[in-house]
Amino acid sequence: MTRRLAIVLSLSVLSVALVLLLLRGATFETDILTIFPEELESVRHLKTATSEGAEEDWDFFLVSTQPGEVVQLPIAELAAQVRALDTVAAVEVTTDPPVPKHLLGAAILKRLSPEIFAEMVERFQPDSLQATLDDNLRKMRGPMWSGSSALVMDDPLGMRDFLLRETGGGRSMPGAAYVRVQLKPETRTDSDILATGQAIESLRGESGWLMGGRTAYHYQIATVLKQDLVLSSGFVLLAVSALFLLAYRSLSGMLVIFIVQLIAVAVALLVGLLCYNSLSIISISFGCVILGVGIDFGLLSYHAAVGNCPAHERRSIRRSIAMSAVTTIAAVLTLQLSAFPGIRQLSVLVGAGLAAAAVLFILLPPEWWSFGKKTLRGGRSPRLVNALSRKPALFMGGALLIAGGLGLSLLGRTVFDFSPEHLIPRELEAAQVDQWFAEQFRAGQSESMLRAKLSDPIRAENRQSWDPALTVRALELLRENGFTRPDSLSSVMLLRELDTWHATGLDYDRFSIAEAWEKLPVELSAAATHELVQIACLTLGAVTLALLIASRSVAVTGLILLTLVVGAPITAALASWLGGGITLFAVLALPLLFGLALDYAIHVALPVCMGQTEEGALAWVLPPLSLAAATSIIAFGALGFSSFPLLQNFGLTLASGIFAAFFTASCFTAGAGLLYQRARQKSTPSA
């Protein structure tokens, strides 16, 4: 026994170490758009627009939340400390815009009112253009000590001068100073980005500097994802183990559950690392799903293993373990049909983890569940089971009434919310920094913020009034005036941007990020509904067939399927109240809930309807099932603490669904099953 305990404890430590090691090596996909299917037009537009807008040379921006005020860490000191980091190539303290000036200029141009844009086009008349060029060449022959004089060196066509005059009321105020950081090209790997982000965070401490920028998004999302995964999975693991300990007073049983669950998570993580380059945001919920669903197998396995379970009940329980494992994994794997890459990845991870958990729990020798002689106190049926046995019709009718009432309460409410605006956590610091740039732009009319505006659409009128021949004319004139290599001038690069929009014809749509975001929910909703119907029909067909074969009874199969119908309005109502509606990804995870609900219905219906003694079956099934439901609700409810709204909703919807499934199975299915069993016994003449 001591030897077994030592092995169990060693295995616990090894499992924890293995999971942590795998987690450390895991790379997370931080681009939120990768969770959408590329088949959708709006997603393609968004991806194109994002890649066009991501022409930033800088990885991190550090901005002060109290510009002008004395901060604990002065900007120069902060810059010097960041500069000393090994992974950093360059650090600048600047008021300049964070992207190349010609892109910013182009961003302003495309949003100009058609009248001002026409005025700009007028400047390209030959005489007018020559006059501008002469004027700027004259300026280059004078003192070059001011910024505006230096500007003409790079902008002899006066494009930026025009833009500043038109958009800044004559002069653009510089934005507040900030620090920008560029990483060495060889250090743009996931691990280096995380290490640099952490180093910058420790340097700035509590001094009031916020970290933003393209790479900061990567760092912050990856960090939040890892935290979410560790915290939610860790919480669930401890909570379900503790719940098990409370329910059964079995330390050895708790340790076994702890180890098997950890190994299942490790297997899933290993499969994820082997099959994918990086883990999607959606997939990080895999830990909770495995822990929440896997423990159901563990509870039933424990019941079948401990000493005083009657032989016929043990067989029945084992049969339901095998069936529930197959149906749950099958339901999870149907998600492979999804067009959403994150959902497909989630199904592989959860499928692998659940398979590992099921196999381990089935193969586990019974003596490993208990280091001493352990028997379950099964002599007395719980009060609820007794009440259920006495008045099954009341429980069944009550469940139907509640489901009907909750279903009616949903009338006039929006249950499904497919808007994608809650994908990124608002509290993410990089998002606050973007807001800072926007405020800088609004407050000072400075150019500093237009980064977020790069992907805005060009006005259709402006695109129509532009003619690429004007760029050709400007280039000819520049060459005539001694600018033999005009392509390097920022004003020419700006004109080239205009030409690109004009030439492709698709540019208005391509850059119409706002329009794409508007279209996205509609397209996603259509895609999700199509998928849901397809997956539900396939699953339902397969499950019905499997149930018919296993139970050899249309009535039992019908009862199990009816349980799903009764549970649906309860799930919808609870999810709507708790999670603010069922979002896209929760909808796509409904097949998973479908599998779980089927499990509960099977666990109750098969022993009650097919078993020999009705009350005994319920007494053996309902207590572990209630524990299984509680652990699953904990597992998915833990996702409600996630920083990502989509995961919060995913968790709360599934937790609501599991509660509904348990409630329906224990009241409606059990009640109906008992009535069916009694009716069957009456009709069968006793021997």
Binding site: R83, A90, V91, E92, V93, T94, D135, L137, R138, K139, M140, R141, G142, P143, M144, W145, S146, S148, S149, M153, D154, L478, G482, F483, T484, R485, P486, D487, S488, L489
Partner: protein, 222 residues
Amino acid sequence: MNHRLPVFLLLLTLCWISAVLHASELREDTALDAREVTALKAAFRQNRAAIEGLTCQMRQAVISPSRDQPVVSEAEVAYLAPDTLLIDYEGEAFVLIERTRLTQLIPGEDEVEVSSLDPDQPAMETMLRELFNGRIDQLPGGYDERIYGLPDAYRVVLTLEPGEDPHLPTMIEVELATDSLDVRHVALTFPQGYGMRFEFRAYDKSVVPDAAYLEPFRQRHE
């Protein structure tokens, strides 16, 4: 055959003369050691301190990577020790650097631009003036300094240290005449191929510019 020998000798002679004339260019510049640099700086400060005022001609060239030829302009320079420097671009534009103020008129503009200067804060705008008054260590940013000895000049090469403000010139080259220590040439190199060159000639230290001479420039903004 008779003609070939004299032609050969003539070419040989021309080559020899050319080599002698350009010997300084062929010879490799020699960097001054620390002791020589200190001595040169002390001599320069002493030399500058003796100047009450001067005038000279300046040729400014603005270099752009988009052009083969720089944009060139001529200017009259008047320096009044210790803090006043006027660069007058052929009457069309000017820059007047004083102790606490920089006044400039851009070509084609009607109004002058005035900005304040902090006498205790090094600024790139006042760099040319510091070359006249000898405050040569007052430069913003960190620069690596090398000084080379040429046959008739010293060449000071300042290279911006890594991590410094990228808006500053990446390289500053100053050429001083060996005998008079007068600034002959200043070249500023900026990132991406931009640059400015200033050549100074026709120094006249005998005539100290009259304050009255500067007054019209001051009055432009008053």
